[in-house]
Symmetry: C2
């Protein structure tokens, strides 16, 4: 059922489809808002003004995504704050569990954390109606993290090979925390869980496999072991 | 000599005028970059998602100003990082000395700190050549702080009148720290000091008087004693 639309598709004729679309937009919106905050915060640890400019610029791109999702939620008649509220605890817990302790950890988080999030939402987007589907695909566009992170991490590890092990461990922690919080959201939000688990996104095990493969490719790009 | 242009106006035929223009753009650019960072950071303490949205949105406007100033510096052939470097210590010291300890302190800082900075640069802008003059005036546009801060502070003080004294003290500290750091920059940067003190901005005492008057008006708008 890949590509099936969620909206109005609930087999019991309920409004679960519509709720699910709101949930996807809302969790993504809140995620982008907090990603903006965390990246802007981490920018203060940049070793040079050029690095600060780069990370702050990516943060601002995330804020633009948040505002676009927020606008769409409002157009759909949702109370934006109310729609985001169910996802605050999980998103905040993800960031509380993955607070970078160095500039390089910030860079790895921006790349690995956003990467796995984007992969996940890209799969979910396939079951969204338009215009939500295009909006979600648009906001998943890489804000420049990939090229920036790969260059910074490779240069740092080349200068100090002992960093490789620690950064690989750090990346694993980010992925672990992301999956733990996604699981938490799935348990709490029935409508959203049905989109992921039942309404067209193949099966959950296959999804996890795809996310893991894509994560391994990012780690290889960084020159780190997955 | 109000309205006289700095560029090429050095009485000794030196390049002090050109340096002064670069200094003004650079200190303002770095100030906007750090204002962005601090506001984005403070947004995490917002009591509601709507407040977070508001403060983060103002931060992003500041980042846009920074990018515009940066672009102009680059067009003038300046090395942007090098141009900003002399102002890093003073701007960072201002923020280190005025770290908000509550959401309301953040709001007061965004209004009072940006307000006195804007007043100061608006005076300086009168002696800039075009297109720098228009650019500086544009980036001094209020990003929405005034209306937001006045509403939030008035509501909070109405609910808890004991806040008024503490917030008034806080605002005085912000102004004191801003003037102390401006003084530090003036001592270090000859070219910039000449713009302010000698090349058309009336006299320094009159400037201080104007800044103080405008600050008192902002405090009155907040319902606080200056």
């Amino acid at each position: 059922m890949l590509g099936a639309h969620v909206e109005g598709a609930g087999p019991d004729g309920s409004h679960a489809g519509r709720e699910a679309v709101t949930d996807v937009l809302a969790v993504l919106a809140y995620g982008e808002l907090v990603a903006f905050e965390r990246m802007a915060h981490d920018a203060q640890y940049a070793p040079t003004l050029a690095d600060k400019d780069a990370l702050a610029g990516m943060a601002v791109v995330e804020f633009g995504h948040y505002r676009a999702l927020r606008a769409r939620l409002a157009e759909r008649g949702a109370d934006v704050e109310e729609a985001m509220a169910p996802f605050v605890a999980a998103v905040d817990a993800f960031h509380a569990g993955t607070q970078p302790k160095s500039w390089l950890e910030s860079v790895v988080k921006a790349y690995v954390g956003d990467g796995i999030g984007s992969d996940f939402y890209r799969v979910v987007s396939r079951v969204l109606p338009e215009p939500e589907r295009s909006l979600v695909v648009d906001v998943l566009d890489d804000a420049g993290q990939s090229v920036f992170a790969v260059a910074k991490v490779r240069a740092a590890v080349a200068a100090d090979p002992t960093l490789a092990g620690r950064l690989a461990l750090w990346a694993r922690r980010i992925v672990g925390e992301a999956l733990a919080q996604a699981q938490r959201v799935a348990v709490d939000r029935d409508a959203l869980a049905r989109v992921v688990a039942g309404e067209g996104v193949a099966d959950f095990a296959a999804l996890l496999g795809d996310l893991t493969t894509a994560h391994a490719e990012r780690m290889a790009a960084l020159g780190l072991r997955a």
